[in-house]
């Protein structure tokens, strides 16, 4: 945290908030920009944690192992697989995106802060302690080891009796509480606190994706919350919802989990998509083609995301009629994504494309997403899905999509780094980072398509697949190195980078680039407005309508 000391905005009016150089500042702050930084730093920490687990998995898979061979015991391997999934999906991806959401969204819509700043701080701290609890769970006889999908009845103490397994479930529970609080906060903020002229349709695409993400979060995480409350009760109070003696407990869990789990895919991916759209616009010098349709597609996906969950359950005792309906909705939800991909591609045409690091990552992320999307169509065909289920095809596909999303978010951190810190990152190191990342990524995940016959979550596989798994392991190491380069780049640039000025990007158009880097504590003097079709700042003494002060 102390690395960011130098980045104080130097604004004189601190309203009793200690300076950034003081630890206390970071404990008491409720400012959206501070909390954004806290989210980003914390989530990067969890990226390292999840990444180390991933490398352990990859090293175990270097060769097919007999029992007891290799780095990890069977129990440790299952813990690693589970915790890697949970950490990356919950504790890294969404919070990383929400670091930017916290920092950027209020700036983009013209709000001084989120609607409920203390609730925002509470969301962050609950997120942090949930992650700490997950860390502690490793030392309570082992963490949860039944896969990130937490399928019943393996999730019951009869099969996973470790105290740490309960801790992991409780960690996920309190994480969901934090997310729900955050969703309420962002929804209120984005719906209620936009500057004049900033109508919904005019909102920047990043803000759009965050708005839709929090709508999905609001409902999806409520379902997960219910599932986790019931599971905690089964584990602690001894209720019998998911036990084998109960009827269909296993099917019940899969319904509850995937009702949350499928929207979660878009929850994770949307912010990256929004950031990619903004970055495309800035570095091609072209506005997104078919912006209206892009937004319509996003809204369509948001609504549809709640009716496709059973495509994760094609082998889980649902009948043919339902399978058919779900197959149709699944194809239906893939089409809006086609449209968005085309929109991004056509934006390139007649552009003046600057191949900066953020653009390279956004462009690369789009390529990876296209590959992920095409291999996803395979899974949409139920006959093929039957065979891919539980294999590395699924693993490779969702890593292309999910880590494709990470690529978009890496683009975002390079894009907004000058805004947040006031300093430029090192462009050369950034390009090195991209090259290593792109090579490492494809070397890691593409061979998994070829070795797709490997069953998921095992460390024995046919010897004929050894070369592919070894390639993947090498790719994993390269990917890890690329992240090290990124962190080094940022660390060095914090003190040695050039001053960025308000906007280092020629074609940046959103409000945050009109502010100093980093913006002062209260973002701006006066009131921003788009009333006359472009951004202006009205002096404070002119009273705009509405504006009754509310107490939190």
């Amino acid at each position: 945290m102390n690395k960011l000391l130098q980045t104080d905005g130097g604004h004189s009016d601190d309203h009793g908030l200690p300076p950034m150089s003081s630890i206390k500042r970071w404990l008491v702050t409720t400012n959206h920009k501070d909390i954004g930084i806290l989210y980003i730093v914390t989530s990067l920490f969890f990226l390292v944690m999840g990444g180390v687990l991933a490398l352990l998995i990859r090293l175990q898979l270097w060769l097919p192992r007999a029992p007891g061979e290799g780095l990890l015991s069977a129990f440790a391997y299952n813990q690693s697989v589970t915790a890697h999934g949970l950490i990356m999906v919950f504790w890294f991806l969404s919070p990383f995106a929400f670091g930017f959401a916290n920092y950027i969204v209020p700036l983009q819509i013209g709000a001084r802060d989120l609607a409920f700043p203390r609730l925002n701080a509470l969301s962050y701290w609950l997120y942090l302690i949930s992650g700490i609890l997950l860390g502690i769970s490793f030392f309570q006889g082992g963490t949860f080891n039944g896969g990130w999908t937490v399928y019943a009845p393996l999730n019951l103490p009869a099969f996973t009796p470790q105290v740490g397994a309960t801790s992991a479930i409780l960690a996920l529970f309190i994480f969901s509480v934090a997310i729900t609080a955050g969703s309420v906060n962002f929804l209120t903020t984005i719906h209620r606190m936009r500057a004049k002229g900033m109508t919904l349709i005019n909102m920047p695409l990043f803000t759009w994706t965050i708005l839709l993400t929090v709508w999905m979060m609001l409902f999806a995480f409520a379902a997960l919350l219910a599932a986790l409350m019931i599971l905690s009760s089964d584990r602690i109070l001894g209720t019998t919802y998911f036990s084998t003696t109960g009827t269909q407990g296993s099917l019940l869990w899969t319904h509850l989990f995937w009702f949350f789990g499928h929207p979660e895919v878009y929850i994770v991916f949307f912010p990256a998509l929004g950031a990619m759209a903004e970055i495309f616009q800035t570095f091609t010098g072209k506005r997104i083609v078919g912006r209206k349709w892009f937004i319509a597609a996003l809204v369509l996906v948001t609504v549809q995301s709640f009716v496709v969950w059973m495509h994760h359950m094609f082998l889980t005792g649902i009948n043919l009629e339902i399978k058919t309906i779900i197959m149709i909705t699944t194809i239906g939800i893939s089409l809006p994504f086609d449209l968005m991909v085309f929109a991004l591609i056509y934006t390139l045409i007649k552009g003046r494309i600057q191949f900066t690091t953020p653009f390279l990552f956004a462009f690369g992320g789009l390529i990876l997403f296209i590959i992920g999307g095409i291999t996803g169509v395979f899974l949409g065909a139920v006959v093929l899905d039957y065979e891919f289920r539980g294999t590395y095809w699924v693993v490779a596909h969702f890593h292309y999509v999910m880590v494709g999303g990470v690529t978009g978010l890496v683009a975002a951190i390079y894009y907004w780094f000058p805004k947040i810190t006031g300093r430029m990152y090192d462009e050369f190191l950034g390009k090195v980072n991209f090259v290593l990342y792109f090579i490492g990524f494809n070397l890691l995940y593409f061979p998994l398509f070829i070795a797709w016959e490997t069953p998921r979550r095992v460390f024995t596989y046919p010897p004929s697949l050894i070369p592919w798994h070894q390639m993947a392991t090498i790719g994993g190491l390269i990917l890890a190195v690329s992240f090290a380069v990124m962190l080094y780049n940022f660390f060095v640039s914090l003190s040695r980078g050039e001053e960025a000025g308000p906007s280092p990007w020629k074609y940046a158009s959103t409000l945050e680039w009109a502010l100093p880097s980093p913006p002062p504590l209260e973002n701006w003097e006066g009131t921003p407005t788009y009333e006359n079709g472009k951004l202006e700042f009205l002096p404070d003494n002119i009273k705009t309508d509405g504006g009754e002060s509310t107490h939190e």
């Binding site: 601190d14 309203h15 409720t30 400012n31 709000a111 802060d113 609607a115 700043p117 203390r118 609730l119 509470l122 701290w125 609950l126 942090l128 700490i132 609890l133 502690i136 309570q140 103490p157 009796p161 105290v163 740490g164 309960t166 801790s167 309190i174 729900t180 969703s183 309420v184 209120t188 719906h191 209620r192 606190m193 936009r194 500057a195 004049k196 109508t199 609001l218 409902f219 995480f221 409520a222 919350l225 409350m229 009760s233 602690i236 109070l237 001894g238 209720t239 019998t240 919802y241 109960g246 009827t247 269909q248 019940l252 504590l521 705009t544 509405g546 504006g547 509310t550 107490h551 939190e552």
Partner: protein, 268 residues
Amino acid sequence: MEVNLPMSDEIATPHVETHASIWPFCISIGVLFFLIGLSGYTQGNSPSLIYPVTLILGLLVFSGSMIGLGVQRFEGPEGGFGEAWPFQNIENMKTGVWIFLASDVVLFGAFIGTAIFIRVAYGWTDWTPVPDDVIPGLMNTYLLLTSSFTVILALVAAERKNRYGVVVSLITTLLLGIGFLVNKGIEWNHLFQHGYWLSTNVKTSTFFLTTGLHGAHVIGGLIICIWLIGRAWNGAYLEDNRVLEYFGLYWHFVDIVWLFLFPLFYIL
């Protein structure tokens, strides 16, 4: 809960936003300790004394910090200074409450859906309600409905700038809510005596857990109610009764949920 609640003095100060509060951090520390303690009770028993101690410590820190948060003066940023579709005429806090309730609908929806799913799998008609007596449930329905009405009375009294009326209506709400919980306690105790525990079978599991979640919502509402009574005692809500309205929204919601739970778990 005797807390001296500063209230009526917060009017008329110029709008200055606050940026610092230690309480979110402290609350989270309390939650962390509480959950570590709770994890020790996997399968119902704690392996060592460390867990209960941590649990209680966490609960204390959490409660203390919540009180701290409740009494802290904090000025949030304004809303509605431009575009606010579709919530133009609903201020921030009210919007927030509505949105939270939407998520709570899904939470209860999942619990009720789960109960129905299990019952269908079990055989709908083979299933009889857990309580053999419908009367305590019926009494509780009336208690909650009445308490919803007294919240409206509090709001009416606030509009008439009748401080006494606000306090009395809220205290009535509180008492009715406590009556609900006591009645439920007696009923549950009766069931426990007859050997029905959460773990007895899947039927008692759904009954106790779903109505228990609702009970937790009632308890949460009553804690807010106590806080409101304290503030109303000091003359709050006469000028600005919106917070009473927000509480009313929540309380009506809890009431409506019960109207679904009662037939499902007592009659059908």
